[in-house]
Symmetry: C2
Subunit: 217 residues, 2 copies
């Protein structure tokens, strides 16, 4: 069955790979699955046709036969559940890989989203300069704990899994901030993720769409 | 096998049921599973013994024989996967229930966590009064979209699922803000969740621990 995902016609990040379709592309590449992409304008994302698939009017969505899914974590999970290479076979190890997926999205990403919001939506506010360090410190607390847990390992729990894919994807949002470099093992962890051929193909595919266009948002 | 979860010895919310162990207790009650609780002080949460189970030093954790899990979403998922009543049987409907779990945690909860942070950690900052309405508007945008999707249905996608359990749990954080009342169908949705006997038992169990103690945080 053909897999179709949606992505930004013009990504707000201009091709840096931070739009969430990159996470799904990466997962599909790790699983060795071909896919098609339907590009959406900002208007199309908020139109009834797309809201039927994605109640929050975002990308990516995922279509495979009768199945229509939204929410990146759920799409990555669905692919990982049905194809080899993204979850360990052993039941407890699989449960722990799923734990890292949720940890990436609900424990590590929220303070990072706060930073994105502070820089994008509150850039012109008088509190910007004084508040940013507070947000950064909340992120740093999480990075410190994650760095201790990772220690000298290549991946968070044994072999590379969908948990690492999600954690690396979340940490990539910090790349331009310089904060990752305060934790050399985390910087190396993210670089290991980026070096995977599947990530390289995913990045190149979104770059090909976005690199020659002016930023959309 | 005995299931053991961890919870606050003294919950920062004084028993309002907003600590994340309530989400796990509710899931266990829906599944009809008995469980034991190990209470942790704030010091114990940051001690090496607990950090071995939970790298971010939080509650809840979940122990079942050899399996040690952290991260509420992953614990709820694990229980839902292995016991009846929390995921639909049909494969596509199950995938969509999982999508609602992730949507609750990664799309709806982050702006709500921002509000919690703004009220708790930035309460004394000069920007508090001017900034709170901005954060609330970001929450309201999500509530508006969720309200449109829910429309007149009892639950988000057919029968009650772990997706509803997580979404109701996330929305409960807004109960004292009054924002839910702006969306009567969401307020009724949350009330339906709270009215479930399994939720009532979960709430009562955490209340019994916290109600007679001074707030711990």
């Amino acid at each position: 069955m053909t897999i179709v995902i949606t992505a930004f016609e013009r990504s707000p990040d201009g091709g840096k790979g931070l739009a969430r379709d990159t996470r799904v592309r990466w997962t599909l590449e790790e699983a060795g699955l071909p896919y098609e992409v339907r590009l959406l304008s900002f208007e199309a994302m908020k139109a009834p046709a797309h809201l039927g698939a994605h109640p929050f009017g975002q990308i990516p969505t995922y279509e495979e036969g009768d199945l229509v899914l939204f929410e990146t974590g759920a799409i990555v999970f669905h692919i990982a559940e049905h194809h080899a290479g993204l979850f360990p076979d052993e039941a407890n190890a699989r449960a722990r890989a799923i734990a890292w997926m949720f940890a990436a999205l609900n424990t590590v990403e929220p303070p990072i989203l706060e930073l994105v919001t502070a820089k994008l939506l509150e850039a012109d506010k008088p509190w910007r300069e004084e508040r940013l360090p507070l947000v950064e410190e909340r992120i740093r607390n999480r990075l410190r704990q994650l760095s201790v847990r990772l220690a000298g390992a290549d991946w968070l729990d044994g072999a590379f899994s969908a948990g690492d894919l999600m954690m690396v994807s979340v940490l990539l949002r910090l790349k331009t901030s310089g904060m990752l470099d305060e934790f050399p093992n985390l910087a190396a962890y993210v670089a290991r993720g980026e070096a995977r051929p599947a990530y390289q193909r995913a990045f190149a595919a979104q770059w090909a769409i976005n690199a020659d266009k002016p930023s959309g948002g």
